[in-house]
Assembly symmetry: C2
Homo-oligomer: 213 residues x 2
DNA sequence: GCCATCTTGCACAACCATGTGCAAGATCAC
DNA sequence: GTGATCTTGCACATGGTTGTGCAAGATGGC
């Protein structure tokens, strides 16, 4: 199980370079999801060749990046829950948003690309919670009862992606994005815009900085 | 202005082949937006080499395909209007949906890719109409007043794309897709799910086959 | 049937990626 | 300082794409 005894400890700068690569990838893939390894390596202050000293393939690097993000999202999602399904949808929107709004393009790429399976668990967590919320909200009569919970969950998720795009286009601030993702999500859940606004008014913490810490 | 006198009329099969290419591109690009020219040509019963007898470049072919689609959508959109902005949004959803539900992937690719400028006019038509509807609906109090009309229009458009995905995933029929795109659009406009349903109940023609002919 | 009009088949250039091999150098641990 | 641990720089293989050139063949117009 343990590695064969090393003659010497690994160099510290190597670990730093590895991080630099991941960080550069995060930034660049966000601007262009198809950025080449060469571009990423250069941005990290390395050569393309050196990358292969840290990752066996380009895809491995992307996978690690995706999994780190997924872990962060999963942790965030576990941070808070609400018994009221409507509030829970809003809460979920806020929690996820704070984790992904700065990696918009990456999110699109990972969720809708072949790397999706790498982040399945985190996605599943969110999805199942949304499905549950949609079902309970429908029972309570506070959420839409005209569509299957599964479909409603997809609509909410889709609305979040729309807000990601809109956020880029309009240059929304973090808080504006939060508000929009919550409003769009609640609309998809079937609330009228006044009802959605009422939820925000009642639960001010949804928009507060670091409210759920 | 007139072409230099031809020694002879162009061959009929050539024109047919040109159409076959476009048709094959339509079908294949729908399954995979990055299908190669070779694949398209073969599917059309031609060689890759022959394609260059009809189109100077791959992009030219895509552009023609996109422009044809845009023209169809623009024509459809002009087919009907409603004075009630809420109904107009539903109507728009239905009209556009019927034109694009069978070219889902293409739509995504064209709207969000570099070919977008080729279809600017058609897109602009829809967008402006949605913005107008959102503004009027907000004034009337039937649509959301918490977001700028511009943003509301984007939410509605985004909802339509979400339904495109959902339609593929769940294998929705044409009519089911219509219903869903309308419901999702009206939700984005700020209606509660019961209000949206009421719109559908009042305007049965929205779901009828060939209602707006 | 003639001949212009496509179409084919093949070769080729160019581009742009990823991934490897290897020798020489820089850097850090000890 | 010594030596293992990275990093570089280069060459090269591989695989994919688009776009061209050109001769030979098939097809349809007149």
């Amino acid at each position: 199980m343990t590695d064969p005894p090393r003659a010497r400890a690994p160099r510290r700068d190597a670990a730093a370079n590895r991080e630099a690569l991941i960080e550069a990838a995060r930034v660049l893939l966000n601007e262009d999801p198809e950025t080449s390894l060469d571009t990423i390596a250069t941005a990290a202050g390395l050569t393309r060749r050196a990358v292969y000293g840290h990752f066996p393939s380009r895809n491995t690097l992307l996978a690690e990046l995706a999994e780190r993000g997924a872990a962060r999202v999963a942790a965030a999602v576990a941070r808070a829950t609400s018994d009221d399904p409507v509030v829970d949808v809003a809460l979920l929107g806020r929690l996820v948003w704070d984790e992904i709004e700065h990696v918009r393009a990456m999110t699109r790429m990972v969720v809708h690309g072949p790397l999706r399976e790498r982040i399945g668990p985190a996605l599943g967590l969110i999805h199942e919670r949304l499905v549950g919320d949609a079902a309970r909200a429908a029972e309570l009569g506070t959420g839409r009862g005209d569509l299957p919970p599964e479909v409603v969950a997809h609509l909410i998720e889709g609305a979040a992606f729309t807000v990601l795009d809109e956020s880029t286009r309009a240059g929304l601030s973090r808080v504006e994005g939060r508000r929009l993702v919550i409003l769009a999500g609640l609309s998809a859940l079937g609330l009228s815009w006044r009802e959605a606004q009422a939820v925000l008014d009642t639960h001010r913490a949804l928009l507060d900085e670091e409210a759920q810490r």
